[in-house]
Symmetry: C2
Subunit: 140 residues, 2 copies
Amino acid sequence: MRMSTRGRYGARAMLDIALNYEKGPVSLRELAQRQELSIKYLEQLIQPLRTAGLIKSIRGAGGGYTLARLPDDINLLQIVQALENLTPVDCLNNPEACSRISKCATYDVWKEVQDSTRNILASLTLTDMVERQLQKLNEL
Amino acid sequence: MRMSTRGRYGARAMLDIALNYEKGPVSLRELAQRQELSIKYLEQLIQPLRTAGLIKSIRGAGGGYTLARLPDDINLLQIVQALENLTPVDCLNNPEACSRISKCATYDVWKEVQDSTRNILASLTLTDMVERQLQKLNEL
DNA sequence: TAGAATACCTAGTAGCATACTAGGATATCT
DNA sequence: AGATATCCTAGTATGCTACTAGGTATTCTA
């Protein structure tokens, strides 16, 4: 039950873009610098976020990325889901993956686990995360 | 956020042993047959469960495994935790893993995710799982 | 006491996913 | 024109997962 760097870096990237919402588009160069991540790797993570409709890009000099919707309309589930497989067990979303489903009690249990983790992630919006971030910086 | 076969097979094994609680020890051969898993792989999964104090073994002919405690005192968190790394992100349990913790708002968020998944798993006991299993078999 | 049946232990290994890097094409601003 | 961006495809090392193999130790039964 581990999260990959994709989901984590993606969340950091989205938070960064949200924090700079007012200041215009955030370029990958800035983003990579602030978040101490490689541009090339970020480049790979940012594309799925774009095709998921969470950010939009502005090409050319002075370009970068901005949120495609209000921070209130973007939650962590959407972010993570765009970047990694959130299904803990294959049989949950692919009934053919296992022939034992009908008699398997653990199936129900994993379903429950999946549902509740999704609920937690979905309950956290970018607005929440921005708030937390600002509060955290104030405490330093 | 995927679960490995270790945790899943381990849960199935524990449930199987619990279902046969009255009938005496369950051998790996029976277990492997019923669960359609390889003996050799099960052998590897069963050891951590034993050292975690969830089952005890009886060696020699006629031997096998039985629960080390009452099914009510064993929950899914204990089972899964014995078999795989449940920490979604390293920094949660190892502060040196990342130097950004103090200013990282996503840290708090992952912590929340971790805590709640652990709570779900901890709330499911072997007794619950046995009940579900029996009910499911009745419905067939 | 032999032998069958079991658990226990250590070492391998193929395949796959992760976490990147590289190089170039395309678009836009100044 | 040139600088600064995004966009796209391919490659790759490393580590983890999901096993398999082979042998040892223990205990029951005939």
